[in-house]
Assembly symmetry: D3
Homo-oligomer: 312 residues x 6
């Protein structure tokens, strides 16, 4: 059985695959060289030290590769540290991918099934045409990407998970409040974050692409819808309403929306997005916290520390 | 059949009960006295003019009373105006109350039934004790008050309507997201705005009480829970969690919450409150707007003008 | 010779074409009907009154049409008012268009010539292809539109005037500071506001289109560039850099840019845009102010009142 | 005589009682274990190192206990460090409490006397009843607590010191400005921060209680007054005015006041509170600064560095 | 006895001197000319109408002059209006100045005496030299000017009243808190607002001078101190400390201080200034308000409406 | 040839002059003393260690002096470190000044020539008199100082370089836009930052003077102009306009301007200042960045990371 980084305990001897997320050759204060490493799997990361630097060590510990290491877990200044005894590179084909990408709480197949059911439920033809075209164009990334690099839903299929949850909420509220165009709302929800498939890049370590930084997923997606609608010859207001929902879904110019929600469906979309993002982020932050105590400061929630009740 | 103010049209002769919401004796620019009036029912208001002021007119048109008037509807500077031909006071017992208070979109009996069903669903004993005690103490106002003086849910039973909607949403989300204490969430929702029964006053025209202005419904309600819990001898964390939800439910110090949400249930409550308030407010603002055009500026929604799609 | 509204003086008798920008049939406080009108040409507007309403008057004074009126200029509460003696509609083909649209300080032909010279100076092929394609697609509006509805450059060809001035400044600074890609900068400047041809609409009275309100000229133009580049098969970074310049040119998320300038050329473009807009706006506001006194409050300049020195 | 941490100098041998405020067992970079400690008394704190970890050392250096240590003071990276030679736990009954809690600049007895004199001066009966009830209920903490955890008045009796100073100022201003209700003002001052006795907890190291974090001393104290007034059967406006003063005394919603001052006495209270807090905080920050030089950055004063004049 | 504007009542016939603060010749909606006037004395203002415009009326009602009028007080749209029967100009030498400038609550002689006593109490020679020089240079305006155009202390000698109150408070706090340089504090207080004698201008109606608008009293006064110190050959830190106190006394860059308080005396000065300004402003706003009711919105106090307790 | 710090590479032996910008005697974790040093020249800085501390070492490594060192360059935790083998102080007369101050991109002589040409071009006599007087008074610092301590133009003559660039831009825009008083604009530009010669101090390491911190260069310069104008007997508006330009040139109260630009020339000056500062700062930040990658976060540009295009 594979032991994950989060399960390492002081004093134990471990062996297994680890991703090199950072590496540097250093000299200690008596002049001897050593490798200073940041090693991780999907459960967490650990500082690594290789004290006797061999000739090949710099090429073995290349950033972004996976290595098979043997070592001892020690404690240094209140954190664990891995003293590496031996290491060798793992060829890409032998990498245990599942070990390095966090899995979603619901299996991918289930999420895809629910996503497709939402698509099937849409009756407005213009909505369906645009949706079908863009799903085809942007999958499979659409089904595999995280929803964010380091905040909420930062696991494989996180984007899909977030989208399906929002679609569920959309169906609930479209039935609850009067005069909501369910098809427009649902299509907007399914499309709203698809631009992230262009904004992020990289198979294992997700990061922002240059295009993502300079243009942002919001503007990228708006352009995708506009082009799709033109290509499909759609003349109704539908594309404009969908583009507006994508542009406005962050709900505030401060967070990068160039326009604010100006239709009922756009307002509801932004409120649902806010609600789901915060609930999932808080869920993740409360994970592992003892009843009766507080979380660490949560940056995207105003740096507040949340309380987990005792639940007597 | 009673004709409502919103149905008045230029040129017509009308008669019926109207509430005097403002009145002043004035002199026109050729020196003649007249009464300048603001008259309303639950459907809207109209400027009124009584050109020949009689001896009793000042006492007839007392602010806050209901008068029976006959008059002609004219247009003055693009607005309608009521030229009053005769008027007399209506004794309180003859006032047609239903004409002056906007009715909720769902009958009060139905709302009370749903409210009670939510109460019944709560199993946590401390929650139930506090809830039962406070419902008893603050009803019947609890079931009759509007949720706000001039924003969302500003009709009879608006507070009840808003509370029941939020409770419905609470049940939905408590089932959707893991690890939510449904009883705490639901109790918090049912209690969160009850302080408004102290904050507002007045049988027909609701306005802030002095206590409401100086203390606010949030602090008033927190004190109510604290006293209730002490009187009931409750020793668990429950009262503190409920008090926290009440204090933090505006979600921002800017809007009068002295603390920000620090539990999962408090965060969810504030998000649901925000969502329901905005949706109902927008619904009301879009009412009567032509498809393909925009609303007036909506002050509590950043003064934005919302678009009602053509819905082709 | 045509007398303009701004030249009207108290007591004089006038006749000529005027645009009906607002109209309403009203009743005065002795019960008589009259038409209340807002009449304008490019020099300003005046309140108009037609006291004896004839059968055709409502159809004559249709909002958005031009009428030929005869009347007397009076003073009412410190403003001039036009007492209309007679009026008839002017067929569109007889309308003196030049009277209703403010002319730019430099003739249109001269501006077009300078615009084209800037285009010709660009050597980067990808820039030229995109530029040529979009100029073709968006002219002639491009050469006729104002730069803003009511702020700076609000005259015919204002967009062109603003663009040419910014291009001149761009050439100056590209020579002054090192390492600026002049072709990228110039192309970005020429394109940056072209989206306004979609954002605004209407031949005589410019106003925001629904698309302009819901999407904004920034996102609209970014999509135009993206589609153009794709259609033209351009693979370099050029389209991304141009899209980025368009998206970021307001220089602040508060003013609707979804991303902030992240390249040297984008930063310079936003600084030049800010400088030219403010200088032209101030120029317009100082126009007609006496030396040694202050302007009215200028809303887009923080409501400040500017001083015109005595210039001894 | 007891030597305090602030008096330690490089190279000296010391022995005495120290509070363990932090402790961790670590491994240095040649693999040897050591204890890394944070040791303090009321004068300051020092990093401690125990290099040869004995079997009992982890239990001796328990966080929150007082130990008797012998050691040598060394310099490490510009800070002093205590190399511990021997250590043993001190039983709670032998702890020299006075060494670990900063003493107020005025003796407690003197502060209590002045506090009581202010209470005695109040003639309004409702004020006196509420005050007497709450002093009884919340003392002795009221007389021992600091006014803040780490800002101004952070010493024993700091709360009392701050309250008495503000009461002195209150008396001064009530005589200076007309129409101030001195009894209301003084009672408000004496009560305003009493909620801190609930907000903080712990005999030696003060920290926020869970209730303090979730509810805040402002809301807690408002509830206390409300309940007291109800219990005492008080029907006048007095309790409402006092509650308002407590709720509004931070003077800004940003700092946790749910309502802003709306009476003359509430406004004056918040201004005096602000003045006294800042003056005492600055006094503390300037302490020990050389004439002609600047303090460190003072966080609650906008991170400014203050200047101590040369005083020639 | 002279009847003041604030004492006018509906229906009465009045005669006396009034200041013309605004005037315009208008035409009513039946074509007749009339004068529309704003008339005031120190107690308030009233709208005036002269219905039959005579040949000289435009020259009689010159803005800024004082006229002797006879007229009738009428009510028009809930406000009083003065129907003027006759009017003539009053030569400047016959103007009853005391009627047009609000008098301070303490006689000027008393204020001057207290101001001088504060000056006499200062022992630091550099402080005294600078103070004596500037008092000489800027009096007599110093003793006559209001402290603000329309906010707090807006009466004759308001600047002096405000300065003397602040000096009293300065003496109180310099005795209360340790290590305050009383002479520096007091000198700073006496000087801090003297720049207003340059910022404002005009004998009866105070308004900002061009220099006041373009430079501000803060920078003007700082320059005055600097030049004085240089002329007097002062070499100590004293002038710099005084200049710093003047520059920083608004306590916030938002309110025009280019630097924030960085000495203990500067911080205390800004706190005292804030306290006295707000207390006097509130006192003025509460004047005339019924016990148990609220003031109008007070703009400089965040537009809040303050409550005057019943004072049972 | 002199080797600069930025050219040091791991493993090499170096010798030469270095400035001691920080120094401390420390003890390592086996008890041995060593000197911990921060050494720099104009190209950068390096951490230095002297492991065997000799009797004179503390006096040799005095902060602010230049030492001649021999040592070895090592790598420690990813940074270079200088292991010092020997060191001796360099007498001030032997210091190679050019090595410690960054040189401007244009030679000083050239900058002085262009500055003087701008001065000569001014025809307004009052402007010339004030300018000549102040140049004389504040040179030579005026020609040698950096424009900022650590942001843009932080090299010798940086103030001069910034001023000359702005003057060039001023000439360009004064010709471009109508009705600009070129002499006022140019004089304002030449004067606007001269106060920095008082705000900064120190021959090699520039830092803020006490006067600079307490008063700021803006207020200091305003006073200089005011005194100059008085001394020169100038009666026109010119000094006021120049003072206003100096006071307002930061363009925002947030950045220390007590008044905002209120003349056309003041507005243009602040826009040019903003443009030149940002362009030069960005140029410096992009220096050395690879095409196709991003800069570090740039603090004064909202912490953004800028992109250097590939420039294909």
């Amino acid at each position: 059985m594979v032991k994950m980084v989060s399960e390492f305990t002081e004093g134990e001897h471990i062996s297994g695959q680890l991703l090199v997320s950072n590496a540097a050759k250093c000299v200690n204060n008596v002049g001897a060289a050593y490798m200073n490493l940041d090693l991780r799997d999907s459960s967490g990361n650990i500082n690594g030290k290789k004290w006797d630097v061999g000739a090949d060590d710099e090429s073995i510990f290349e950033i972004g590769t996976v290595v098979y290491v043997e070592g001892e877990v020690l404690k240094y200044k209140e954190s664990l540290q891995l003293k590496i005894l031996s290491a060798k590179r793992v060829p890409m084909e032998d990498v245990d991918i599942a070990k390095f990408v966090k899995q979603p709480p619901v299996p991918k197949e289930e999420l895809v099934r629910r996503f497709n059911a939402h698509v099937e439920s849409i009756k407005n033809e213009d909505c369906r045409k645009i949706l079908d075209y863009l799903i085809k164009r942007l999958s499979p990334k659409l089904f595999d990407y995280p929803a964010a690099v380091s905040v909420h839903h930062d696991y494989a299929c996180g984007l899909l998970m977030h989208t399906v949850s929002m679609a569920d909420h959309g169906v609930y509220f479209a039935q609850y409040y009067p005069d909501i165009d369910k098809d427009i709302l649902l299509t907007g929800i399914l499309l709203h974050d698809m631009g992230k498939t262009i904004e992020f890049e990289g198979p294992v370590i997700f990061k922002y692409s240059v295009e993502g930084k300079l243009l942002g997923h919001i503007s990228l997606m708006m352009s995708e819808i506009r082009r799709a609608a033109e290509g499909l010859g759609i003349k109704s207001e539908v594309p404009m309403l969908l583009e507006h929902m994508v542009l406005s879904h962050h709900g505030s110019t401060e967070f990068g929306s160039p326009v604010l929600p100006l239709t009922k469906e756009a307002l509801l979309l932004s409120l649902i997005d806010n609600l789901d993002s915060k609930m999932v982020l808080l869920e993740k932050s409360l994970d592992g916290v003892e009843p009766g105590s507080f979380t660490q400061k949560i940056y995207p929630l105003d740096n507040r520390m949340f309380y987990k009740p005792k639940g007597e």
